[in-house]
């Protein structure tokens, strides 16, 4: 593992460097300031392993002794600046009003001074030397920390766990130290490593002006400066101190990176190694494209679709053998809880599965074009698939703001969508964009064309997203939780709109949702998913009036009903337990651990999806007994 090698090197190098620097006076090293002009710029020898410098001093010894000054100054300065900067940033970010002003504004003053001016001022007051250098560097780097901390605190402050700590009645100091500080520590550690590096580099610059370490005391900065003048005569003379600098900076960086990961409990998982990623084009798949023609009004025919996602501990079958049919003009609802694979199914159809880490492992996605030709989307290469996106299949997502670009006008984005499929004169494209907006019922569309997404309400944005999806006149629309982020009164409007569109253009609709109320309103057929599998499917009537799978029944029962007048003993019917981890699925029926009717038979093997009627099927070995 490369990461571990570099970490071991970083720790080893830093430890050795610090140890050597601390014990330098006790080690049998040549005197770092003793000159030997006769053998100036001599190459490496047994007595002087790194050679000698322009005055014949031993370079190795000077690097070790130089580390004393360089490391002491930079580590102390970085730590002092860090302590001060973090406190200022925490206080400034957490408290608002005048405290924020009093803490953060003075930093801008520091930033507005040229560093050299500040350094000269300090020298005038304190005189040159390592101490002066440390003080100057500390002050110079306070704003760097404070700004990073401040920015992080502004983010963390708005998290509800901070508000929860306030609600519990904790004092502000405790909230800052115990709740906020650990959450901003990561970026601060990274900042520390950067500051240490900058300090070492600046030390050389300031020493050059005679403001820092005073010659002949060695420091890396002084060594680099001295050797630079003779670079053409003795190139190795400058390489050694530079290497010491580079490796130190790298090691500090690497160590801080590691510390950040250690302090972040979430990062403790094994990191994903790219080698185990599944290459998208790697999987040997079923049939060729254009697998014959369809006779009826079939639009989409998914058979046995299985998708795999590579995760650190193996691979997950997010969708496991799903079959699904959509006819023209039909609304199919894909229902399930989080982790059921319903969204992954939608993404697989659109070839939007996360690249490199996921793939379609098995199965076919036959899409039937208007000329009744079947095309297996699972085997269509990505570059040719662009012809399907938007033009044959459109997609609408849950968060309309996420799919609208905030820096372009609505009109611009619609025009983009129109021109993606057809080259038209400019006037024509704008006319089409306007028509698209009218089609989704946006009042005053001429004005809206010139507005930006943030100027629209949530419902209007979702209408625009639908308009964009419909620009290419697709035959199939995949809507992934399109109303979940909307208010109930607005949700009803969007459902009406989808219904109108479906009636007007006989578009096929896949409606992905967890909301059974919405399903009851718009679906012709319902497919219920659990842990990547279809557990039941049927017409809306069958699913809602005669559900056969215990999971479907449980879901329906757990919807609180307004007409359900609760008596003295208030109870909502619920499904016990939680959805199992996709890495530890039960051996048999995946719902068995939560099912009140489970028997040994249920754990024997994964039950088949058995037909219940012509249009209904359930994946339960006991559906007959339980009916």
């Amino acid at each position: 593992m490369l990461r571990n090698v570099t970490l071991v090197f970083a720790i080893g190098f830093l430890a050795a460097m610090v140890a050597l620097a601390v014990f330098a006076p006790l080690l049998p090293l040549p005197d770092p300031v003793k000159m030997d002009v006769i053998s100036r710029m001599a190459g490496p020898s047994w007595a002087h392993p790194f050679g000698q410098d322009e005055y014949g001093r031993d370079i190795f010894s000077r690097i070790i002794h130089g580390a004393r000054a360089s490391l002491a100054v930079s580590l102390t300065a970085a730590a002092l600046a860090g302590a001060a900067g973090v406190i200022v940033g925490l206080v400034g970010g957490y408290f608002q009003g005048w405290i924020e002003l009093a803490t953060m504004r003075p930093l801008d003053v520091i930033l507005s001074f040229p560093p050299m001016l500040l350094a000269l001022l300090a020298v005038a007051l304190l005189g040159p030397g390592a101490l002066t250098l440390t003080v100057i560097l500390s002050i110079l780097f306070i704003p760097a920390y404070a700004r990073v901390t401040y920015g992080e605190v502004l983010v963390v402050r708005n998290h509800e766990y901070v508000e929860a700590a306030r609600a519990l009645g904790h004092r502000p100091l405790r909230i800052l130290a115990r709740t906020i500080l650990p959450n901003v520590a990561g970026p601060v550690l990274v900042q520390f490593s950067l500051v240490v590096a900058s300090c070492i580099v600046l030390e050389s610059g300031l020493s050059f002006l005679g403001l820092g370490v005073v010659p002949p005391t060695p420091s890396w900065g002084l060594m680099i400066r001295g050797a630079r003048a003779y670079m053409h005569l003795d190139p190795m003379g400058i390489v050694w101190p530079c290497m010491a600098l580079v490796f130190t900076v790298f090691s500090v960086n690497r160590l801080c990176d590691h510390l950040r990961d250690v302090f972040d409990p979430k990062a403790r998982r094994v990191s994903f190694s790219p080698a185990s990623a599944i290459d998208e084009d790697d999987g040997a798949r079923g049939r060729e494209a254009a697998a014959g023609s369809a006779t009826d009004d079939m639009l989409l025919d998914i058979r046995n679709l299985t998708t795999e996602i590579a995760v650190p501990r193996g691979s997950i079958r997010a969708v496991d053998g799903v079959s699904l049919k959509v006819r023209r003009g039909e609304a199919v609802a894909l229902v399930g809880e989080s982790g059921s694979g319903k969204s992954m199914t939608g993404l697989a159809i659109m070839k939007l599965l996360p690249r490199r880490i996921s793939r379609i492992a098995r199965g076919s996605i036959d899409y039937v074009t208007a000329d009744r030709q079947r095309h297996d989307l699972a085997t269509v290469p990505l570059n040719r698939f662009r012809a399907y996106r938007g033009k044959e299949i459109g997609m609408v997502f849950q968060e309309p703001m996420a799919c609208l670009n905030p820096v372009y006008t609505i009109g611009y984005q619609l025009v983009e969508a129109v021109t993606a499929h057809a080259r038209l004169p400019k006037q024509e494209t704008w006319a089409r964009a306007l028509k698209a907006l009218k089609q989704v019922g946006i009042p005053d569309p001429e004005r809206r064309l010139h507005e930006y997404p943030h100027q629209l309400s949530g419902g209007m944005r979702q209408r625009v997203a639908i308009a964009i999806a419909l620009c290419g006149k697709p035959s199939l629309l995949i809507a992934d939780e399109p109303t979940t982020a909307l208010d109930v009164t607005v949700q009803a409007q969007i459902l009406d709109l989808l219904e109108q569109i479906r009636e007007a253009s006989r578009i096929g609709l896949i409606f992905i949702t967890h909301n059974l109320g919405v399903v009851a309103e718009i679906a012709d057929r319902v497919v219920v998913m659990y842990c990547g599998q279809v557990v039941e499917e049927g017409t809306a009537e069958e699913i809602f009036y005669t559900p056969r799978h215990p999971y479907t029944r449980g879901l329906l029962a757990s919807v609180p009903k307004v007409e359900d007048k609760t008596g003295g003993n208030k109870r909502l019917s619920s499904i016990p337990g939680a959805v199992p981890s996709p890495l530890a699925l039960p051996p048999g029926c995946r719902f068995a651990p939560r099912c009140a009717h489970a028997t040994d038979l249920c754990n024997a093997g994964v039950p088949a999806l058995e037909p219940v009627s012509d249009s209904q099927a359930a994946r339960c070995v006991r559906w007959r007994e339980l009916a």
Binding site: R178, T489, S574
Partner: protein
């Protein structure tokens, strides 16, 4: 404006609560425009009572919850807790009081400190009751975990190792750790899956009954509110448009907005769902920065008349414990809105 009369002792009384936010003005106009997030809200909660607060996003329902605990400072009005005016209570007094008033947040992912173990998250709250010896403290945390359906095995885990439902249980455990007498639950199950929602709702009901906590249950889901609440308030654009006992509100809603909301409640009966007219309200709530004059609902109300724009409608009593703010007595209240021409 009248304050509802209560038979039982109120634990929390709110009068004419107002919360203004100031939006930053444009680039060249230095004028800052006030946004009335909460605009004159009055109510009270009795000991052991569950008050439901219903509204859409932007109605100000969450702001009410946070202002009550003074997590946000009220602009005007008074908040009395146990008879004590806490509207301007000092920081120290407020910190003491917060041990009696707690809040459960909506988002189970951002409401737990990702850097702390469960022992710390709940233990911190336990500490506020007073320092305990280490083993008693741990026993206390375990008791709380068991109370919300978790176990001692979870003590040393981090929040990210839990599912959404379990995290919400942890939130509840933390809120209960200080033994509060009043809890605000702000959309506590909105982020959970349906089957898990029911588990958490049952837990809330059980705990509320066992501990006798007064609960303000904020939600956009009328079904959940009816399930848990004794009394329900409906908010629209910062104002309460109707308040009644749960039974009254659901069987005899008066305000057109309440009636529209009730009729959008999803039904899991496809035939019924398709038979009814779905879109009862046109458009979306206006911006609270620029609310309509008079009744703020009039721009979407199918019953609006000229007089609705004239002045802010009075909040008046129409039955025992039943209040609303619609000026039209001539429209037939009493049932959900069915169809609108």
């Amino acid at each position: 404006m009248t304050t509802p009369v209560l038979k039982t002792t109120p634990v929390l009384e709110v009068e004419n609560l107002q919360k203004l936010y100031y939006s930053s003005g444009g680039l060249f106009s230095g004028k800052r425009k006030p946004v009335k997030a909460v605009d004159g809200v009055s109510f009270s909660i009795a000991r052991g009572e569950v008050l439901g607060l219903v509204g859409e996003s932007g109605s100000g329902k969450s702001t009410v919850g946070r202002t009550l605990l003074r997590l946000h400072e009220p602009t005007a009005g008074t908040i009395r807790f146990d008879g004590e005016d806490i509207t301007h209570a000092s920081g120290q007094r407020m910190r003491d009081l917060r041990r009696e008033m707690q809040i459960i947040f909506q988002d189970p992912f951002s409401s737990l400190n990702p850097r702390s173990r469960i022992m710390e998250i709940v233990g911190e709250a336990v500490d506020l009751r007073g320092a305990l010896p280490k083993d008693e403290r741990e026993a206390s945390v375990i008791r709380l975990l068991e109370q919300v359906g978790l176990s001692r095995d979870h003590l040393h885990r981090f929040p990210h190792e839990f599912s959404g439902g379990q995290r919400q249980r942890l939130n509840i455990a933390r809120a209960l750790a200080v033994r509060p007498r009043f809890v605000v639950a702000d959309e506590p199950v909105a982020a959970l899956d349906v089957s898990i929602q029911a588990q958490v709702m049952n837990l809330l009901v059980d705990l509320q009954r066992d501990t006798g906590i007064a609960l303000l249950f904020i939600s956009h889901d009328l079904g959940l509110v009816e399930f848990i609440a004794d009394k329900v308030m409906v908010m629209y654009l910062g104002r309460i448009v109707e308040m009644a006992s749960a039974r009254d509100l659901y069987s005899r809603p008066f305000h057109p907005y309440t009636r529209a909301l009730l009729s959008t409640t999803p039904s899991v009966d496809p035939r019924e769902a398709r038979a009814r007219k779905r879109t009862l309200l046109q458009g979306e709530p206006p911006s609270p920065a620029n609310p309509p004059s008079g009744c703020t609902f009039r721009t979407r109300c199918p019953f609006a008349i000229a007089a609705c724009a004239a002045e802010r409608p009075a909040y008046r009593q129409v039955g025992e414990g039943h209040y609303h703010s619609c000026i039209r007595d001539d429209i037939s209240g009493g049932e959900p809105l069915r169809a609108v021409a």
